[in-house]
């Protein structure tokens, strides 16, 4: 590793930091201390099922992030009788929602919704579903009131209060620092919802269960099939409606918040015949290489900065106004360009005097770090690896494709009756600004909770097709103990070496994308069929790899099609947005020959 020398660092110190002194009163640093240890909670017991057991429900919810949990609470309030909540990890905790800071965009009285809508669509490159966005903004007040009713308080920051403006956009108003029964941040919101669901008593939990197939016949949902990663038992859900409240696709685990996002919801919907949209927008972020800490660019306003291997504070070349405190995309593009110039690796330098001795202390003591982030920071300090100790190596993280499962304004599939999409897998836009993911999770969860309940009430009883169920059951364990098989870990490295390169992610050219497609085709034909799992734990990972491969192909194909640059999609030959030809969505749908068929859709 190329460490920056002490002398170089001293040279770099000072100037940028002093200009941006913190507005917080310094005495806070001494007053608050570390956040109190988290309360331990009762475990929601997962339903123990036998192999091939049939579970009848009115509604199956796949995924327990903000969207899935809101859907469960809302559906129970709409007096649905039986809900199955399924998650491939732990309930609530395996989603990003439990790990985020919990800042959420709300639109309350006095907010200019029309101006906000315009600004928001401009930010996300002009592509977005306006009706859905309006619906999210107009119903926002209702969800805020519900949080208050359920006992969540938004404590805010000392100076900025509970509504903070971010991203240099005065219409983005975040409510920050949620608290609930001793929990803080996103974990507080998740815990509140889990408590609600437990109190309502109509939900059955299936943790560590991965849904591997939807049971769809004649354009309607009849249920789903899943497999337990601990016992290997398979379960058949018989239900008229399914909500896919899954995350996005990050092409391989690399970060605690997004490690589980392997495009499972996209793949389920796509294989069942649903359209996928916005597959070319792969949103990037920057994290520390060795540990889980993101948002480093935010400390740019307090004197921290990204430096390349020569010690140069390069971000000013790419964003003269904001430097290191730029937005996700600009930083990621800058990283890729520095890499192309041979200036990688890149470090985040928080050792400047102002940052190290004033701001970081205040952050540690008074900022609303949730339990794991606070513990993480403390542990980094204990082990001599605090971000302020030395410049830390930074890498690009794919935060994931955003917005893929195409639905109508009721968030129900146009192709498959009874299939709903919420959370990050909901297609309504493709941007990431701070607080939008939790806002869209809450909105889409609540909305699907209502619309799916209404649908399930009026729907005919689901009928299971015996052959289809048997096929799905066989498919769910098809990777088990193949002869001469390769393990997940052997294959995922190869897969990631195709996807995780700057030319594929952030410096796309037709050559690089075509090359990527060729390599992926080889991988799909030669390597993937040899994938073998020695137990049920690896079986689920094998399914994840299969899903990622499917989504990766659509990502490369649509990136190749879109001959312009827009938002997180950047083609080096076409550096500008082309609104004349490309203000439209690319949709992918599976056809009868099992091939991806492309169509365009104009935004309303």
């Amino acid at each position: 590793m190329n460490r920056i020398s002490r002398r170089d660092l001293l040279k770099l110190m000072g100037i940028t930091g002093a200009a941006a002194m913190t507005p917080y009163p310094i005495k806070l640093a001494r007053a608050a201390g570390w956040p109190a240890p988290a309360p331990r909670v009762n475990i929601l017991k997962s339903y123990p099922y036998e192999d091939r057991e049939v579970f009848e429900a009115d509604l199956v919810i796949v995924g327990t992030g903000m969207g899935g949990l809101w859907a469960a609470v809302t559906a129970a309030e709409e007096s649905i009788k039986r809900i199955a909540i399924v998650d491939k990890g732990g309930l609530g905790v395996s989603s990003g929602s439990g790990m985020i800071l919990g800042g959420t965009l709300y639109w309350l009285e006095g907010d200019d919704l029309a101006a906000c809508e315009k600004e928001y669509l401009k930010y996300s490159g002009g592509l977005g579903h306006r009706d859905m966005l309006r619906d999210m903004m107009q119903t926002s007040r209702r969800r805020m009131e519900k949080w208050e009713k359920w006992g969540v308080t938004y404590k805010g920051f000392p100076v900025t209060g509970t509504r903070m403006v971010t991203d240099g956009n005065r219409y983005n108003k975040l409510s920050i620092n949620p608290r609930y029964k001793g929990w803080s941040c996103g974990r507080a919101l998740v815990q509140c919802l889990l408590d609600r669901i437990d109190a309502q008593g109509v939900s059955t939990y299936f943790s560590k269960t991965m849904v591997t197939d939807l049971l769809v016949e004649n354009g309607r949902v009849n249920g789903a099939v899943g497999v337990n990663r601990m016992t290997g038992n398979r379960i058949i859900f018989k239900a008229p409606s399914v909500i896919l409240a899954t995350g996005s696709c990050t092409f391989g685990p690399g970060y605690s918040v997004s490690a589980h996002q392997t495009g499972d919801g996209y793949a389920l919907a796509y294989r069942a015949g649903n359209k996928l949209q916005n597959c070319e927008f792969l949103n990037p972020d920057v994290v520390a290489r060795d540990y889980n800490l993101e948002g480093g660019h935010l400390t740019g306003m307090f004197g921290a900065r990204f430096i390349n291997k020569h010690g140069k504070d390069f971000m000013w070349d790419y964003d003269p106004k904001r430097g290191t405190n730029s937005n996700f995309n600009k930083i990621a593009f800058a990283f890729a360009d520095e890499w192309a110039k041979g200036n990688a690796p890149i470090y985040l330098d928080q050792t400047t005097v102002v940052y190290k001795y004033i701001v970081s202390r205040i952050f540690e003591n008074s900022s609303p770090m949730n339990t794991w982030q606070a513990l993480n920071y403390k542990r980094l300090r204990e082990t001599g690896n605090a971000p302020t100790d030395y410049p830390h190596n930074q890498i690009i993280l794919y935060y994931g494709l955003q917005g893929c499962i195409r639905t109508n304004n009721d968030l129900m599939s146009d192709e498959i009756n009874g299939l709903f999409a919420a959370s990050l897998s909901q297609s309504f836009d493709m941007s990431t600004i701070k607080g939008i993911s939790s806002a869209r999770g809450m909105w889409s969860g609540e909305k699907t909770g209502r619309t799916a309940t209404a649908y399930a009430r009026g729907a005919d009883a689901p009928k299971l097709n015996k052959d289809q169920v048997e096929n799905a059951l066989d498919r769910s364990v098809k990777y088990m103990n193949r002869k001469n098989g390769l393990t997940y870990w052997q294959l995922v490295k190869k897969f990631q070496s195709i996807l995780h390169t700057p030319e594929i992610g952030l410096r796309k050219t037709s050559e690089s994308l075509e090359d990527g497609l060729r390599q992926l085709k080889e991988f799909k034909e030669n390597d993937l069929p040899a994938l073998s799992a020695k137990d049920s734990h690896e079986l689920v990972k094998a399914h994840e790899l299969e899903n990622m491969t499917l989504v990766a192909e659509l990502f490369l194909k649509s990136s190749l099609l879109r001959t312009e640059s827009r938002y997180s999609h950047r083609r080096m030959e076409y550096p500008l947005p082309d609104n004349e030809n490309w203000l439209k969505f690319i949709n992918w749908q599976i056809n009868r020959d099992n091939e991806a068929e492309m169509s365009f859709e104009k935004p309303v």
Partner: protein, 80 residues
């Protein structure tokens, strides 16, 4: 590995770590009735087990196993 210390003597076999682990790293040993780390390479250092362990038997190191992504000067670290 990221789960650096685990005190089996403190473990009461309550199963909190197993139920809560987001990546299915922990398993229960039916013979001893205690938890053990079954799939260490999947750990993402999210601290969920440490936070939820009622006996404080777990200590997690912040450095995770990660696919070595760009732009950095390292190849994949062979963790498995």
């Amino acid at each position: 590995m990221t789960i650096r210390k685990f005190d089996q003597n403190k473990c009461t076999g309550c199963g909190a770590c197993v139920e809560y682990c987001t990546r299915d790293v922990w398993r229960m040993d039916p013979k001893t009735g205690k938890a053990y780390v079954a799939y260490k390479q999947d750990c993402q250092a999210c601290y969920t087990c440490e936070i939820n362990c009622p006996e404080s038997a777990i200590w997690v190191h912040p450095f995770r196993y990660a696919p070595r992504m760009w732009p950095c000067n390292m190849e994949y670290e062979d963790t498995v």
